[in-house]
C-alpha cells in the first residue's frame, strides 16, 4: 500500500512523460486449431527436488503418455526456466501440439507465465492447463511417496480430461474513459482526487454534505503536533482550485452503470441530475464516531468522548477545578462480542489528550483505564512520554469492566480493580472521557447496493485481498480508501488514498484494456427470459436485450459462473469452465470418460446450442 502511494507521488512528477517509453510486445499470429483433434503435450516438472524427491516423475510420465489425445509427455528439471520454455515452444511446433499441460506448481503464480509461452508459440493462451503436483501433492505427501506418485498421475490425468476440451478464447477490449468518480469528499477522497488530477486525469468528487473535509473537520492536531485544520484548509483550497477536479457538494451518486474503464453514472444534486462518464470509481465514504450508550454518555455533560475532549482542548474550553481527576476509559462498546473490532486510533488519542491535559493542568490526575495499549510503531514513544508525565495507566480485564454510577448531583463515581496491587481503585473524576468506537457510515448499505461491493461483519467495506490487493475491490475498476475501509489514522488514510490513485492510474492511463475471456455467454435459443441470471449476478452483468433474451455484458462479467449454475434452461455457458471441461476432468480421474476427443467436440456443440444427449452418457 505504501509502495503504491509512493508510486502515485512519483507518477505525479512524471505525468508529462507518461507513455513515451512504451515498447509493445509482438506475438505471432495464433494458429487456428478448431478443426484439429486435440494433440496434448504434457510437461511434468521436477521443480528441482521439490517434486522429484517425493513423486516418481518418470512413472507419472509413463502413465500419462498412454492417455488418449496425449502425443507427448516429458519431464523437466525446472519447467519455468527460460530454456525449458524455449523447448516447450519448439515442441509445440515439432509435434503440432494444440493443448499444453504443465504439471508443476500452482497456477495462482505460474499460469500467466505459461500462457505467455503459448502465445509466443502461436497458440491461444486459453489452451493451457496446469496440474498442481507440488503445492497440493509432493509438499503435502512427502511422507507417502507412493501415494503421492499415484495422486500426481491422477492430477495430470484430470488435466488431460479437461485440456482435451479446452477451446481458444478471445479477449475483448474496451476503450477506457480516462476520468475518475470519487464518492466522499473527506481527506481520503480529496487526497485521491488531487493525486489523480495531478497525474492529468479529470476527477468528479461527490460529497453528500455541504462542505468538503469529512471527519477531519473534527480533528485538530496529529500526534506529531501537525495542525490538521490548516492542512485541511490548504487541501480544500487545492481541490477547489484544481482545473481537473469537479466538486459536487450536497450530492449523491444515484446510478452507476458499465464496467471497468467505461462507467456511466448519475450524480444527483437536489432536483438536478448530471450524467458523467469515467473509467474508475473510488469509494471514500468514511466512517463516524459511534455515540456511546453507556457510562452516562448523553446524561451528563461531564461524560464526553476522546474526540470531544480534543476539540475542547483545541478551543481552550476544558475547565478543571484544582487537583481534579480526569478519567479515560478505553475500548468503550468495542472489542466486545457485539462489536469485536478495535478502532485503532483511540489508544493514541487517549495518550495524546492525556499529555495535553497534564501540560495545561499540571495538578490534574489523569487515569487511563485500558484493556491493552495499542500505540503501535513510533506511537509507543508518546505512550512512554505519558507514563513519564505521570499519567496513571490501569489495566482491567474485559470480563471485569469498571463500575460506574452517576449521582443525583451529577457526581461520577468509577471503580476498577487494579490487578497488580489486587485492590479496588475508586475515583470521582471531574471528567470521564470515553474511547468511543469508529463505526461505518449509516448509509453504507446504499453505497454497497449501488456498486455491489461487499461490507464485512464489522460494517466496513471489504477489499479484494488484505495483502495482495489492499485498495481494490474484487470488482475491477472499483477502489477503496480511508475509514470506509476500516478505522485508521489520518496519515494511513492519506497513504491509502495515494495508493488508490496509483492503482487507478494503471487503468486510466491506457487507451484500451483487455477483459479476461473467462466470462459467461447466453445461448439466445435456449433463454426463456426468466431473469434468474439478472437476479443472481453480483455485478449486474446480464441484461435483457431488445430481443427479450438475456445477454451477459462481457466487460462486466467477472466469470464466477453463478448464473450458469442457476439458469433453469441451462442456456448459459461459462467460457473456460464449461460442463464438458469440468466433467471431462472428473471422468478422466475416474477412468469413465469416452475415448479420445475429436475435433471441436463437446464444448463446441454446447456453445452453439445443438440439442443432444449429455456427452457423458453411453
Amino acid at each position: 500500500m505504501q509502495a503504491s502511494a509512493a508510486a502515485a507521488r512519483a507518477m505525479s512528477l512524471l505525468a508529462p512523460a507518461r507513455g513515451t517509453c512504451i515498447r509493445t510486445k509482438v506475438y505471432p499470429p495464433q494458429r487456428d486449431v478448431t478443426d484439429e483433434p486435440p494433440r496434448i503435450g504434457v510437461f511434468i516438472c521436477h521443480c528441482g527436488s521439490n517434486i522429484a524427491s517425493v513423486v516418481d516423475v518418470e512413472e507419472v510420465v509413463r502413465r500419462t503418455a498412454v492417455l488418449p489425445n496425449v502425443v507427448l509427455a516429458e519431464h523437466n528439471i525446472y519447467t519455468c526456466a527460460d530454456d525449458t520454455q524455449d523447448t516447450i515452444k519448439d515442441k509445440i511446433g515439432q509435434y503440432r501440439l494444440n493443448r499444453v499441460i504443465v504439471a508443476s506448481c500452482t497456477p495462482r503464480t505460474h499460469e500467466a507465465i505459461f500462457r505467455d509461452t503459448l502465445r509466443d508459440a502461436g497458440l491461444n493462451p486459453y489452451l493451457l492447463e496446469m496440474a498442481n503436483i507440488r503445492d497440493q501433492c509432493s509438499w503435502v505427501h512427502s511422507a507417502a511417496p507412493d501415494s503421492a506418485t499415484r495422486k500426481a498421475a491422477d492430477l495430470v490425468r484430470m488435466a488431460v480430461g479437461r485440456a482435451a476440451r479446452l477451446v481458444p478464447l478471445t479477449e475483448d477490449t474496451v476503450t477506457v474513459k480516462g476520468a475518475a468518480l470519487i464518492i466522499g469528499g473527506g481527506v481520503a477522497g480529496m487526497t485521491a482526487a488531487l493525486a489523480m488530477a495531478d497525474q492529468g486525469f479529470p476527477v468528479h468528487l461527490v460529497e453528500k454534505s455541504e462542505a468538503l473535509g469529512g471527519a477531519a473537520r473534527d480533528l485538530f492536531r496529529t500526534l506529531d503536533g501537525l495542525d490538521v485544520q490548516a492542512f485541511l484548509a490548504e487541501t480544500i483550497d487545492r481541490v477547489i482550485g484544481h482545473p481537473r477536479i469537479t466538486v459536487h457538494l450536497h450530492s449523491h451518486v444515484t446510478q452507476v452503470e458499465g464496467h471497468v474503464g467505461d462507467f456511466t453514472s448519475v450524480i444527483t444534486t437536489g432536483a438536478k441530475t448530471r450524467q458523467v462518464e469515467h473509467g474508475v470509481v473510488v469509494v471514500a465514504t468514511g466512517a463516524v464516531e459511534g455515540k456511546p450508550t453507556t457510562f452516562g454518555y448523553g446524561q451528563s455533560p461531564r461524560v464526553i468522548t476522546q474526540r470531544d475532549l480534543s476539540g475542547q482542548l483545541a478551543r481552550g474550553e476544558l475547565d478543571l477545578p484544582k487537583g481534579a481527576t480526569v478519567a479515560m476509559l478505553q475500548c468503550v462498546e468495542q472489542r466486545t462480542a457485539d462489536r469485536p473490532y478495535c478502532s485503532r486510533v483511540c489508544c493514541t488519542m487517549a495518550v495524546q489528550n492525556a499529555l495535553a491535559v497534564r501540560e495545561r493542568h499540571p495538578d490534574a490526575r489523569v487515569v487511563v483505564l485500558y484493556r491493552d495499549m495499542r500505540t503501535y510503531g513510533f506511537r509507543e514513544i508518546a505512550y512512554k512520554k505519558a507514563r513519564q508525565a505521570g499519567v496513571l495507566f490501569v489495566r482491567f480485564d474485559d470480563d471485569a469492566p469498571p463500575g460506574f454510577s452517576l449521582g443525583a448531583d451529577g457526581a461520577i463515581e468509577l471503580t476498577v480493580r487494579d490487578a497488580i496491587v489486587q485492590r479496588d481503585l475508586l475515583m470521582r473524576p471531574s471528567v470521564l472521557v470515553l474511547a468511543a468506537p469508529i463505526v461505518g457510515q449509516h448509509d453504507r448499505q446504499e453505497v454497497s447496493d449501488l456498486l455491489r461491493i461487499p461490507i464485512n461483519a464489522d460494517g466496513f467495506f471489504l477489499e479484494a485481498h488484505v495483502k495482495l490487493r489492499p485498495v481494490d475491490f474484487a470488482s475491477e475498476g472499483l477502489f477503496l480508501c480511508g475509514t470506509a475501509h476500516a478505522p485508521k489514522f489520518l496519515s494511513e488514510t492519506i497513504s491509502q488514498a495515494s495508493a488508490v490513485a496509483a492503482r487507478a492510474a494503471s487503468i486510466l492511463s491506457r487507451q484500451t484494456m483487455p477483459i479476461g475471456a473467462q466470462i459467461a455467454r447466453v445461448d439466445p435459443d435456449k433463454c426463456v427470459s426468466c431473469m434468474t441470471c439478472v437476479h443472481v449476478c453480483p455485478y449486474l452483468a446480464p441484461i435483457v436485450g431488445d430481443d427479450n433474451k438475456a445477454q451477459v455484458q462481457p466487460t462486466v462479467c467477472m466469470g464466477c459462473g453463478s448464473c450458469t449454475s442457476e439458469c433453469p434452461a441451462k442456456a448459459i455457458t461459462l467460457h473456460h469452465y464449461t460442463d464438458a471441461q469440468i466433467l471431462g476432468a472428473i471422468d478422466r480421474l475416474l477412468n469413465a470418460g469416452p475415448g479420445p476427443v475429436g475435433p471441436g467436440e463437446g464444448a463446441y456443440l454446447e456453445q452453439v446450442g445443438v440439442a443432444r444427449p449429455r456427452w457423458t452418457e453411453g
Partner: protein, 162 residues
C-alpha cells in the same frame, strides 16, 4: 483411479479461498491423506448438482466442496448458493442409499492452510469409515469383466496363431 488402489476423494475448491489455502498447506509442508484430489473452480457457485452426482455415479468415494467463509465470498453470495446445492445433493444421496455423509461443504479463508489440511483429513477419515463407494465396486466388477474378456480374446488369438 487405479482400480485396486486407495480411496479417491475430490475436493472442489474455490480459486480465491480453498484453492489458495490448499497451496498454503503445501508451503507450510502440512501433511494430509493422499486420497484428496483438488479441482479448481472460479467460485463454488459454479459447482452444479450435476457435477456432484456425475462424480458419484462414476464411483468417487467422497467429495468435499470448499468455499470462502460465509459473508466473505469473492462474488458476494456464491458460497451460499453452493451450500444450498450441496444440501440438495446430500438429500438425493440419502434417497438413493449412497448416504449424505460422502459429501460435505466447508468454508475457509485463503489464509487457513492448516484448516485445509484439517478438512482433508476429516473427510478422508469419514470416508474410510464409510468404506469405498458401492458404485465404485460395481464399476470395478465391470472393468474386471472387460479385462477378462480381453485376455480371453488374446488367448484365442494366440491359440489361432499357434
Amino acid at each position: 483411479m487405479d482400480t485396486d488402489q486407495e480411496l479417491v476423494i475430490l475436493a472442489l475448491c474455490c480459486h480465491y479461498c480453498a484453492y489458495a489455502a490448499a497451496d498454503m498447506a503445501g508451503s507450510m509442508r502440512l501433511q494430509y491423506p493422499g486420497s484428496v484430489r483438488v479441482l479448481r473452480f472460479p467460485c463454488t457457485s459454479k459447482i452444479e448438482v450435476n457435477y456432484l452426482l456425475t462424480a458419484f455415479e462414476r464411483g468417487i468415494d467422497g467429495i468435499l466442496v470448499a468455499g470462502c467463509l460465509e459473508g466473505g465470498c469473492h462474488f458476494l453470495e456464491g458460497n451460499l448458493r453452493a451450500r444450498r446445492r450441496v444440501e440438495r445433493a446430500k438429500k438425493l444421496l440419502d434417497e438413493i442409499g449412497l448416504g449424505a455423509g460422502r459429501l460435505e461443504m466447508f468454508n475457509l479463508s485463503s489464509a487457513e492452510g492448516p484448516r485445509f489440511a484439517e478438512i482433508a483429513t476429516e473427510m478422508h477419515e469419514r470416508v474410510v469409515e464409510l468404506g469405498p463407494s458401492p458404485l465404485r465396486r460395481g464399476r470395478e466388477a465391470v472393468l474386471a469383466g472387460v479385462a477378462g474378456m480381453a485376455s480371453l480374446a488374446e488367448a484365442v488369438i494366440a491359440g489361432e496363431k499357434t
